[in-house]
Structures are given as C-alpha cells and as structure tokens.
Symmetry: C2
Subunit: 201 residues, 2 copies
DNA sequence: TCTAATTTCGAAGGAGTGTTCGGTTTTCGG
DNA sequence: CCGAAAACCGAACACTCCTTCGAAATTAGA
C-alpha cells in the first residue's frame, strides 16, 4: 500500500495540499452527519465531485481520513495551548484563555469534533491511533497542570480537582452536540460560562 | 418483515424475555467496545452462543438492537426521574436525587450509554428513533424544570440557566468515557461533585 | 409418551462495500 | 508548443455483511 504521491513540482504542491484539505473537510462533514460507516466512498465521490480513482490520489484509504480529521483537529489546538501556558500569566487567566481557545476551536470544527467523539472507542483501542491518543492526553495534561497551579497558589479551590477536570472535559466535549452557528451565545460567552461554573464564581 | 414471534405458552414467556435481554446486553457490550458497525452478526453469534438463525428469533434485525439498547437505558431512568419530581421536596434536594440516580444509572449501564453517545447522530436524524429522542427530551425537560424552580425560589443562582443545564448534561454524558467499576469515586460521590459544581457550592 | 409449539441450526442468497488499475485528460516547465 | 508529470476517470474485483429459510432438535403440556 504505497502512499499516494505528493507532487514534486512546486506549482502543484499547494494545489495538492488544498485539495486534500477540501477532501478531509468534506469527509468530516459527512462523517459527522451520517457516521463513519454510514458514509460510503460513493457518498464521498458525489460530495467532492471526484471519482473514486481521483479520491484515492489524496488519501491512502477510508480510515486514513479519520486520522487526518483528528490530526487537523488536535494539532493546532495543542499548539495554541502550549503557547498560552508558555506565557507567564496567572493560572486563572491561563485557564480562561485555554478554555476560550478550546471552545472556539471546538465550535469552529464541530464536525471534526463530532467525528472524534463518535469514533472515540476505536481511537482508544487501536494501535494506529497512538498519535491522536497522545495528543489528547497532552492537552488534558496541560489543563490539569493549570488547575494544579491555581490550586497551589490558592487562586482556585476544588473539592476534587480531578473531578473538576473531568467535568470540564465533559462540558466542552459535549458542546458540539448542541451549538449552532449564529446561536444565542458566542463561543467566548460559552467559554466564560464554563470557567465560572468550574471555578465556582 | 414480521416481528419474531413472542411465545404464547406462559412457561416459555419468561425464558424468552430473559434470553432477549441477554442478547441485548451482550450486544450493548460489544457495540460499546467495537462500535455498532464494527460488530458483525458473526461477532454476536460467538458472544451469545446462538447461531445466526437463532439470534433472529429474538430480534427483528441488527438495528432493532440499537433501539432496544436505548429503550433499556432511557425508560427506567425516565420513570425514576418522574418519581423523584412527583415527591414534594425542595428543588435542591430533587436535583441531588436526580443527578445521583442519573449518574448511578449511567455508570451501571455504561455500555448502553456509550452506544447511545456513539450513535447519537443517527438517533437525532432518523425517523424511527422518534421515541428514543422524545424520551431524551423529556428527561432534559425534567432537569430544566427543577433548575427553574430552584432559580425561582432563590435556592439556586445561575448566570445562564440554559448553559448550566447543558454543562450538566455534558458532565454526566461524558462520565462513561472514564469511569471504571471499583474506581476511586463512587457514583454517588461523582453525583455530589457534579451538583456542587453546577450549584457553585 | 405423544404432539404441537418453540428454539436452534447453518448454508445460501443478494446487496453493498472499499480498493485497484489501465487508460485518458489536464497541467506545468522548458 | 512539446513532453513528462500529475490529476482524474469508472468499470471490475474481491470481500464482507445481514438476512432468510427449510429442516432438525428441544421443550412444555395433556
């Protein structure tokens, strides 16, 4: 199974990357709507305008799409999170920034996120998903560290820090199930609300 | 597609119901582990000990299993919730009782719950799931009413009640992803923690 | 014990799937 | 404008899967 060739000619390189992203985003939308297994290659061909053969120029296989979707979701988020905690700000400030960036990301990429949630069991179990799994864990560790620092300097108090972390994860991960673009609350407002709930403001 | 005949002889009635429940619970476990589409009928035959033909005595089809799993999950929970709010207790007390019953239920049937989460998109979309959908909505309405009563008599305060409800739904619905039987916290302790977070204690 | 209802079996059918591959069209670089 | 690289097509293939069905085995009740 040779990986489909990325072009060597420079002029086509950008086009290739762009079209690949188009394919991935379209797949994310369809997967979120109908489920991974509920979406056939034929569904993808009609949605992308590419024929089957054309599709396989940009992906290794159907399941490759799943990994690509999760990468596109987690990688930039993790990078942003690292930026935030690298800056030296008070833990409460960092938490607000983290949650805001996180909610905004999750809302903007809610299709990706729904796919991530749907296929979670497969992700946690299979070997090929190690990378995605470790990205998720790294992000959760960053969050936990901020909460720990806040608890240490008494700017935050938790009856059970671990449970508060899990509650926060639950809230944010559940958000894509109900947010609608142009809804009553903006992503930033939702994030503020979550912070207030977790910090007991 | 005639529904597989429930027996008329009384002595076999109980056996039939029991075996059907066995099949459903086994399916819930497998679906939770490998996903609905990742689980083949052949997987179900080896897990249940029944051959393909035997299986189809107890179910109408593979997707019938999904509905049965969700019914088994939501029906008793909804009934219990109605009992709790029927009794005349303070809103805060009712909320604690509701969340405790809910978390206990979710933890006890975490396989069912994981399936429910995984197949959520299909559930919300397709017509045949109307019943399950309305059960879910009814339960959420009960929760919202309790929060509203608490807000009305000033025993609870929310910056945004709707957001607090959604946050609570997120926390509890996410719980099956991380709880392990015999873990550090009991279901009741988790429920108490969630209540404290939502009520800002 | 006899029999009719019930349970179970397992091979066969039929539809749908993801992927491959040879060939054609389009595109870029010189 | 030419030639090679890249993009794309779509029919064919190999598979797996869910479901059906006629027959065999088991059971309960008279």
């Amino acid at each position: 199974m040779p990986l489909p060739s990325p072009p060597t000619r420079p002029a086509l390189r950008a086009r290739y990357e762009g079209r690949r992203r188009e394919v991935i985003d379209t797949a994310a939308r369809l997967f979120a709507e109908r489920g991974y297994d509920g979406t056939s290659i034929s569904d993808l061909t009609s949605a992308t305008g590419l024929a089957a053969g054309g599709l396989y120029h940009y992906i290794e296989g159907k399941d490759d799409l799943l990994i690509a979707i999760c990468d596109e979701l987690l990688e930039p988020l993790l990078e942003r999170a690292r930026e935030i905690v690298a800056a030296e700000a008070a833990p409460v400030t960092q938490l607000r920034e983290l949650v805001t960036a996180w909610v905004e990301h999750v809302v903007a990429h809610r299709h990706h996120m729904l796919v991530f949630t749907q296929e979670r069991q497969a992700i946690e179990r299979q070997a090929r998903w190690r990378r995605v799994r470790s990205q998720r864990k790294a992000f959760e560790k960053i969050l936990d560290d901020v909460l720990a620092r806040g608890e240490a300097d008494r700017s935050m108090t938790f009856a059970d820090r671990r449970l508060s972390l899990l509650a926060l994860l639950g809230m944010v991960n559940y958000t894509p199930q109900w947010v609608r673009p142009g809804g009553r609350l903006s992503a930033a407002e939702i994030a503020d609300g979550y912070c207030a709930i977790v910090l007991g403001a």
